[in-house]
Symmetry: C2
Subunit: 234 residues, 2 copies
């Protein structure tokens, strides 16, 4: 865990700071805390009260929520350029979920006071926050609809497509998802069990739709996954 100088163009690539002048970005860069974090490190825990606004520069973070009964779901995966843990600054000042690195990760963060001050100076950041949170709200609402109405296989297909869209990059073999995913992760994000997710992914591997190497998924035939995700329930 150590400090790094941060290039303004790294900030410019984040949606959070879109529409800002380079001079503004330079000031922000100077006030950003950047840390390199090892794999499987807990960045914050559900309920923690010293909240900061975070963003991933390189690597990835898994955001999970657990209920009083211990049941756990993955809220989302955060890839490069995305912010996380920021909503709690505006609501009750407690993180609503756990954040754990999926791999070695370069993370930026700002204290509550700093972010509020930045929004005050650059209202555009506020609008950016609304847009980002708004889009996530819509995504989560879509997930609710899927969970309520669709079968496990379709949900897994949708989850993979979302991940590929969010954090996929093209390779010769197809679209690879940047960060390592265990079967359990796939299960928790699509609202099923480890067992069912494993069965589904294995069957897709056998069919040649995708490959797993070293926990990393590569989608070889997105069209097939898409077809499954749109399949009628009967």
């Amino acid at each position: 865990m150590m400090d790094f100088a941060l290039a303004p163009q790294t900030l410019a690539a984040m949606e959070l700071f879109q529409g800002l002048a380079v001079s503004a970005l330079e000031t922000i860069a100077a006030r950003t805390r950047v840390r390199r974090l090892s794999k499987d490190l807990r960045i914050f825990s559900q309920g923690d009260e010293e909240v900061r606004a975070h963003a991933v520069i390189e690597g990835g973070v898994r955001i999970t929520q657990s209920g009083s009964d211990g049941a756990q779901v993955v809220i989302r995966f955060i890839g490069p350029g995305e912010m996380f843990g920021t909503v709690s600054l505006f609501t009750d000042g407690r993180y609503p979920a756990d954040a754990i690195t999926l791999a070695e990760t370069l993370e930026a963060s700002w204290s509550e006071a700093e972010l509020l001050d930045l929004i005050h100076r650059h209202p555009q950041i506020g609008v950016n926050v609304i847009r980002i949170i708004g889009r996530r709200l819509q995504e989560v609402q879509e997930r609710v609809r899927e969970l309520a109405t669709q079968r496990a296989e379709r949900r897994v297909a949708h989850a993979l497509l979302r991940l590929a869209h969010q954090a996929g990059h093209s390779t010769i073999d197809g679209t690879a998802i940047e960060f390592p995913l265990r079967r359990k992760d796939v299960a928790d994000i699509s609202g099923t069990t480890l067992h069912t997710a494993s069965r589904i992914l294995t069957s897709w591997e056998k069919a040649g739709f995708l490959t797993t190497r070293d926990r990393r998924l590569t989608i070889r035939h997105p069209s097939e996954i898409l077809r499954i995700s749109e399949e009628a329930s009967d």
Copy 2:
């Protein structure tokens, strides 16, 4: 459908305008479109492109989302003082869901340009929007967790408690939920079927936990519903 003069204190009661000076509220009031809408009226439809920011003053609105396959879920119910349809102003400029009045309703709304201008003049409104959307995001994420991990009965119990908290008012008989709810509504908000929801509610009525009169629910023993909502799954 007709216009009304709007009292600043009505706006002050809305979370959207919290923290604003009375003078500001007066200006806003003058720029608000207020309409009285009949029951079962469609305010906007999923996909519509002329988006406005809305709020309920009296009455209630059901927000539902339907997928390409026709399956439908209730996203949430909007009660007095709450805003709706606002997120789309910041994301893609299309309503992500349908809005239909549950009863005769007094509705306020602002055009996109007006709301953006207001946020620009009063950044506090922007922060309020973030807080409201942030809280909703957390609520929806909790719903995802429930749908993924809990049984139908617990989900219905949670849904009722949320509704009672959001739009309940105390009477001699217990907590009454302001707007009329069909069994189908309860099913769609708790992610189950009409049949299962009907069975569960009927059994609770028989047990005396709640009563339905004229589509309106009154919770007589919140503690019992709470117990069910926290019951272990085994």
